[in-house]
Subunit: 191 residues, 2 copies
């Protein structure tokens, strides 16, 4: 029975994070503030502020809740096919609700807040870069990619190019873009 | 004498754009609004709203004012050296005042506004991609890069990777990053 308050607290937290995502998806970034989330969740603003000092902190936790390991790379032994499959699967998942609007909102806030930018990178983008690096390193060990090359920056190029297209243009991260990116990557490092 | 009102109008516009940049550099994105710019410029808010319906529209024009052709590529006949020189020259110019804070603010606003994102891409990023493409196409014609390859997407990769690092991490666009990017580009397309 001593765990009951903790369980209730966890349920309340989960509910708040769910409502945050829901609100972001419905009202968009412009209408997103602690007041709107509190109203929809039926709690006082102080309940939110006690735990999350800023909207950005709340958004980061809301993002974490839905950022799943489903976004991980497969390993079928064909590096080009596995990268292609993951990019084409994760790009729409990261662009659409529930992740899309919240992710964009955090990225926007991070432009004016270097500490938030560091947290955003540590909690999300570093993870993406590292899982990409892990997958292409395995391909290198398997002889699919040239040996003796440090692939750390190429992993950043793969992720960065697709983020750039998503954030700074109205062009989609589609098959044409992904294939062109993989053409360049394989031209550079394929065996 | 009939041109006098037009000249005065142009001078007033230029002054407003200058003040916008100055305000952005000093107060940062958080403190940036039409009221603050109007106060510093000594004009009424309506004077600004008559010409620029949103802060974003004003910011785009302010950016245009200082976005100079000094950011263009050189052509010494050495593609790797010319790309390197341009990346290392333009990255700090785009990150520091007067361009840096305004550019980041527009990019942040564009995350919640697809029309602004399209305008931002058309007025600035497309220009960057196209001048990069023009420079690497000349290198291809000169035999420095492999022939028969469409370099449109590689130009996007070059720009996008550096924007990603600038916008979504706290890592600098430094010599190490630029050299690693050029290693990949030349491994893919160098002759």
């Amino acid at each position: 029975m001593t765990d009951e308050p903790r369980r209730r607290g966890a349920a309340r937290t989960d509910e708040l994070l769910r409502v945050t995502l829901e609100t972001a998806a419905e009202v968009g970034y412009a209408g997103l503030n602690v007041e709107a989330v509190a109203r929809r969740a039926g709690v006082g603003k102080h309940t939110i502020y006690r735990r999350w000092p800023t909207m950005a902190a709340l958004l980061l936790d809301a993002l974490s809740r839905v950022w799943t390991t489903d976004l991980d790379y497969h390993d079928t032994g064909d590096i080009r096919a596995d990268l292609r499959e993951q990019f084409l699967r994760s790009a729409p998942a990261l662009a659409a609700p529930p992740i899309g609007p919240v992710y964009r909102a955090v990225i926007a806030e991070a432009q004016a807040d270097e500490a938030l930018r560091a947290t955003l990178h540590d909690r999300f983008l570093r993870t993406v870069e590292e899982s990409t690096l892990a997958r292409i390193k395995r391909a290198q060990e398997a002889g699919e990619l040239v040996s003796g090359v440090d692939l750390t920056f190429p992993a950043e190029v793969l992720c960065g190019t697709l983020y750039y297209r998503h954030l700074l243009s109205t062009r989609a991260v589609d098959e044409t873009a992904v294939d062109a990116l993989l053409d360049m990557f394989m031209a550079a490092y394929g065996t």
